[in-house]
Amino acid sequence: MKDLIEGRVWTLGRDMDTDQIISGKYLTIIDPQELKKHVLEIGLPEFAAGARPGDILIADENFGSGSSREHAPAALKAAGIGAIVADSFARIFYRNSINLGIPTIEARGVRALFEMGDTARIEMRAGRITNLRTNRSITFPPIPHHLLDLLEAGGLVEKVKVELAQRKAAAGTPRA
């Protein structure tokens, strides 16, 4: 996980539910590269074609509400999103997004700080996000340790992989 994340901003409104991020008709697609063609098709139709690696999503309250579909953060990750920052997140989306290793940050008041196309700088450990156009910034509460660990590991798959390997190694060690 990078401590300093910078990128071009896409803004989104409140209650951006998972149907608007990846709608039901695409749920049989599990290849993220295919999914990204349809990402935010309802919520922000110009995003899929216009997104560049490293772009940052800045949303209002309740981002990712609705279903448990991991297709939503997986499609955003495939689109190259560098971070998702919102005034607040729905809980399953938040977990899914962190599990996939996407820097996912809850920062009250962040939406009001940005306009479409601005550049954002996020200092993960310091807990600060700055609009480099206006030079205004706000702070956010530190990301809890267990989540930082997950992001450091590169997501849940990598973290569990290490744990299972350690377990296997311990089981294979002959007793003295």
Partner: protein, 426 residues
């Protein structure tokens, strides 16, 4: 975060047990042992991360259920592939509890009917409406497929102990007013973010009087409040429901008398009319009596979904439909929540009743609820639905308008061809 050793809420009690601790408080991060893990089609996305993690076997094959429901039978090649991946995985890692085509149903209903979740359990599923099983007096929460891979490998997951929103309900539901109306009314007050990350605990004399199916409905839609879980304390009804079907021993727990609630909402349902959630949010709730005056034409009515497609719901609809026909300008789709409910409908003559009235009675599945299988609406159409979500694009096009209501109100709309008050058919 709560501090000290004050009383615990129902969710805190369950999570204390799941984490092997005497006491937990809201805000605390715990590692919880999972009593039941459920996957539907989204579980196909669990397979790759499970292997990538280096996992070889599942922690406990008798605590894992696979229940396909979104595309049953498979309606596209993509869906067929998802089913295939799951069947192959189930064989490979030895998961015998697979509810496949012919023995299928909506995953949450399968868990309920077969007694897979019991009081005191910590259950997780790859579907957001897993909250429904909280009606057993359990913490039941939705998770994503990668997280499910970790659960299958380890049998546990991290959880932040949620604070609790208590919804205390008193009064009697009037004729034609049901549990769905109660949960819609509560949603109108709590809103879609009012319980985000929280546990919702339903209490009070009205809740105690509700049947298990009614409790399923009100816990199911705590998801729309943003809640991690929604619970009803177990009682004689719970024990009776599970008496012959419980798959593992019950370990009921109860909230302490001095439990700390972040917030309590009091609802008195005496005199409450039927409710309806208007587009495009489940919290955009108005009394049905107001909406009826707008004479909103209904192109499609849908009686289905994990929220309201149990035998009781279909009977409730039948009581209204008897002697009437579906309006010529309206399509009416009925999709029971499980195959056993379908069979029950068959035995009771309900399939005949619905189809003779002009409805299409489908096999069990999530059906029109999620806009990815059957029952898609056109952009300028309106659907009256007993389901749980009316977001833009939920039934296909983003302009489609969905009104959420009780099963009875859904049938009333199918008969009138516009949003109607079911009490007029009494």
């Amino acid at each position: 975060m709560n501090s000290g050793n004050g009383g615990m809420t129902l969710a805190e009690k369950i999570l204390a047990r799941a984490s092997g601790l005497d006491h937990v408080a809201s805000g605390q991060i715990i590692e919880g042992s999972v009593d039941l893990a459920m996957m539907h089609e989204q579980g196909a996305q669990t397979v790759a991360p499970f292997h990538q993690m280096g996992a070889e076997k599942v922690w406990d094959r008798d605590r894992v259920v696979i229940a396909i429901d979104h595309w049953v039978p498979a309606s596209t090649e993509g869906a067929a592939v998802l089913h295939r991946i799951l069947r192959k995985f189930a064989t490979e890692v030895d998961l015998p509890h697979f509810y496949d085509v012919g023995n299928h149903g909506i995953c949450h209903q399968i868990l309920a009917e077969h007694g897979w979740v019991v009081p005191g359990d910590l259950a997780v599923g790859t579907d957001s409406h897993t909250n429904m099983l909280g009606a057993m007096g359990a913490v039941a929460a939705g998770i994503g497929p990668t997280e499910m891979a970790a659960v299958l490998a380890l049998g546990r997951l991290w959880l932040k102990v949620p604070s609790t929103l208590r919804i205390r309900v008193k009064g009697h539901l009037g004729p034609g007013v049901v549990a769905k109306d109660l949960v819609l009314r509560a949603l109108g007050e709590v809103k879609t973010t009012g319980a985000t990350y929280k546990s919702v605990e339903w209490t009070g004399p009205t809740i105690e009087r509700l049947s298990m199916p009614e409790r399923f409905t009100i816990c199911n839609m705590t998801t729309e409040m943003g809640a991690k879980c929604g619970l009803v304390a177990p009682d004689e009804k719970t024990f009776e429901y599970l008496r012959t079907i419980a798959k593992h021993p019950m370990h009921p727990v109860y909230a302490d008398a001095d439990a700390t609630y972040e917030r309590t909402i009091d609802i008195d349902v005496d005199g409450m009319p039927p409710m309806v959630a208007c587009p495009y949010s489940p919290d955009n709730v108005r009394p049905l009596t107001d909406v009826v005056n707008e004479h909103i034409h209904v192109d499609q009515a849908f009686l289905g979904s994990c929220t309201n497609a149990r035998i009781e719901d279909i009977r409730e609809g039948a009581a209204i439909l008897r002697g009437h026909k579906v309006h010529p300008g309206t399509r009416f789709i009925v999709s029971p929540a499980s195959t056993s409910i379908y069979e029950q409908c068959l035995q009771e003559g309900l399939i005949e009743l619905y189809t003779e009235a002009g409805a299409v009675f489908t096999n069990s599945s999530c059906s029109a609820c999620f806009g990815g299988n059957m029952g898609i609406i056109a952009p300028d159409e309106v659907c009256a639905s007993s389901s749980n979500r009316n977001f833009p694009g939920r039934m296909g096009p983003k302009e489609g308008r969905i009104y959420l209501m009780s099963p009875a109100a859904t049938v009333a709309a199918a008969i009138r061809g516009e949003i109607a008050d079911p009490r007029e058919f009494a």
